[in-house]
Amino acid sequence: MSVVVGILFMAATYLILSRSLLRIIIGTGLLSHGAHLLILTMGGLKQGAAPLLSEKAGSYVDPLPQALILTAIVISFGVTSFFLVLAYRSYQELGTDDMHRLRGND
């Protein structure tokens, strides 16, 4: 799992460093996927039942990281949708999605 997370981070970093705004947003999406998978991995991947008391199993998987991920997912969902609309607006107003042309000091 750690290797997969590493590959996700690598791809995200590469995309965020590119010129097109849409690629950057895809990069942030991959970055948050990587971070969420990392929480799950770091919480431990031992065998156990789903964290439902009705399962009546001997051992359960850790419920805390799942709650953390759920929180982090909705937050990054909100931020990503805001970012996408912002990208759309700035494409309308500024007429470009090339980060190199978004410079200036005025």
């Binding site: 965020i16 705004l21 950057i24 942030t28 970055l31 948050s32 990587g34 971070a35 969420h36 990392l38 929480i39 991995t41 770091m42 919480g43 431990g44 805390l64 990281p65 953390l68 929180t71 982090a72 937050i75 990054s76 909100g78 931020v79 805001f82 970012f83 912002l86 990208a87 607006r89 700035s90 107003e93 500024l94 978004l102 200036g104 005025d106």
Partner: protein, 493 residues
């Protein structure tokens, strides 16, 4: 009143929700938000008094015991910052009324401010590391909204950069929490402190602490992570920049202080030495930026970076003098940065430009504004009777006690250049040849004197009333330097 300490968070949250329903009635919005903000100031004064008389206040939300549920903790440092935050928000609202414009006010401007306060106050009061992340996001989401509200080209362009940097730092925050959870299996800060000190001096703890330093450094704009700040803070209107400049970076500074005085104290030689040197470079780069520009906004913005450096150096010494200096200085800096941004905003309204070379001789028509600016300049640089002095002198004393002579002299030298950069505005903008006759001015600033004067008067009173404030600061410092007080209050062992 066992639930009292949640009120400073709950009140702005509910107000923000309430204001959504009065979108078109701007008058009602103004009345409600001013009223609530004034009530919040009174509540936070009561909170400071409560912590002073009865020690650290904790609230276990939902009645779950400390390491298992979320705990809100109000120690003296957090309470003082909550009080200062509410004062800045109150004055910023007064400043907004005449400057922000109906277009923005109709689009949930005042709700945005209330949600920003919720995030900032929540970040100060929480005792749980993941909850800190959530409050950071509440604060950041509102700041994304406030920075882009109005939708001018420069705002759109700069908010893309601002959001991108903060999305990345939030992802890093999540990663850092994941590593820390894997190592300790807990999220409560007091419990983390116990677990980390049981693990002792292991390499992985140091790595995670540096990751946290990077995360909070991105939020708090320390060297070399301040690159996003000058552009982003130039974009929004003055009232919003004042809120950002006074509060947002200070939340990063607060988090660094909290984390490195409570949790990561096992390898002080390395981590705090690193913070000290990063602080020194922040000061150096901050003053270089401040003296390089002729744009009045940029000058004040680079002074934020310098101030962050000064505060963090005080924290990194881990001596009583240094940390109490940092507490003094952070409160002073929030107030004075608010005042400076307001004055800069007033100048911009008068002259219609931010270029210093295009103004001059403003003192002839606006003597009060000029002298208020002069006082805040001296206070910013730390001239003795004013508020910046006591903080800096304690920080330098702390630096000498730990024999960090080089960085201490950087603090002193940076004060000189900060004074130069701000007096440059005073000499070129207020003195000299009058370039703008009374009837050529772009707008009236008469009502703006109220918020500016409030902040400058508070700053003067803060400078003269150090004796009165000292017991509060010393209590805050004792808690910061001795984590066992915090841990006992939270875990009730």
């Amino acid at each position: 009143m066992i639930n009292f300490i949640i009120l400073p968070i709950l009140l702005p949250l509910l107000t923000g929700i309430l204001l959504i329903f009065f979108r078109k009635q701007i008058k009602i919005q103004k009345v409600i938000s001013t009223l609530i903000s004034a009530i919040s100031i009174i509540l936070s004064i009561y909170l400071v008094w409560l912590v002073q008389t009865e020690g650290i206040q904790t609230l276990e939300i939902g009645g779950w015991q400390a390491p298992y549920g979320i705990v809100l903790v109000a120690d003296m440092f957090a309470s003082l910052l909550v009080l200062t935050t509410n004062i800045i928000v109150f004055t910023s609202l007064l400043f907004s009324f005449k400057t922000i414009g109906v277009e923005r006010e109709k689009f949930f401007y005042y709700s945005g401010i209330q949600f920003l306060v919720t995030g900032v106050v929540g970040a100060f009061l929480t005792g749980d590391i993941f909850n800190l992340f959530v409050f950071f996001e509440v604060m950041l989401m509102s700041s994304y909204f406030l920075i882009v509200l109005g939708g001018t080209k420069i705002q759109l362009r700069e908010s893309i950069k601002y959001i991108l940097v903060n999305v990345i730092s939030s992802a890093l925050f999540v990663i850092a929490i994941a590593y820390l959870y894997a190592l300790t299996g807990t999220l409560n800060m007091a419990d983390l402190s116990v677990k980390v000190s049981e693990l002792g001096q292991s390499g992985i703890i140091t790595v995670i602490s540096v990751l946290f330093l990077i995360v909070f450094g991105l939020k708090g704009a320390i060297f070399p992570l301040f690159f996003w700040l000058p552009g982003s803070y130039k974009a929004p209107p003055a009232a919003v920049t004042a809120l950002f400049g006074a509060l947002l970076t200070k939340v990063g500074v607060y988090s660094i202080t909290r984390v490195f005085t409570l949790i990561f104290i096992t390898d002080v030689g390395f981590t705090h030495g690193l913070i000290g040197w990063l602080a020194a470079f922040s000061m150096i780069f901050g003053v270089i930026g401040a003296i390089a520009y002729w744009d009045i906004r940029k000058i004040v913005i680079y002074n934020i970076i310098t101030a962050v450096g000064v505060i963090l150096f005080g924290v990194s010494t881990m001596t009583f003098a240094g940390v109490s200096g940092a507490v003094f200085y952070v409160i002073h800096d929030i107030i004075i940065k608010g005042a400076l941004f307001f004055i800069i905003g007033a100048l911009f309204i008068l002259t219609g430009t931010a270029n210093l070379k295009k103004m001059g001789g403003l003192i002839h028509n606006h003597p009060l504004l000029a002298w208020l600016f002069f006082i805040s300049t001296l206070s910013l640089a730390g001239i003795p009777p004013l508020s910046g002095f006591i903080g800096k002198i304690n920080i330098i004393q702390g630096g000498f006690e730990t024999e960090d002579y080089v960085i201490s002299f950087v603090v002193l030298f940076s004060s000189l250049l900060v004074l130069y950069s701000a007096l440059k505005i005073f000499i070129n903008g207020f003195w000299g040849e009058q370039k703008l006759a009374k009837d050529e001015e772009k707008g009236s600033i008469n009502v703006l004197y109220v918020p500016i004067t409030i902040l400058v008067v508070i700053s003067i009173a803060y400078g003269f009333g150090v004796e009165l404030i000292y017991p509060f600061v010393s209590q805050a410092t004792e808690t910061l330097l001795d984590p066992t007080i915090y841990i006992e209050a939270v875990l009730k062992e």
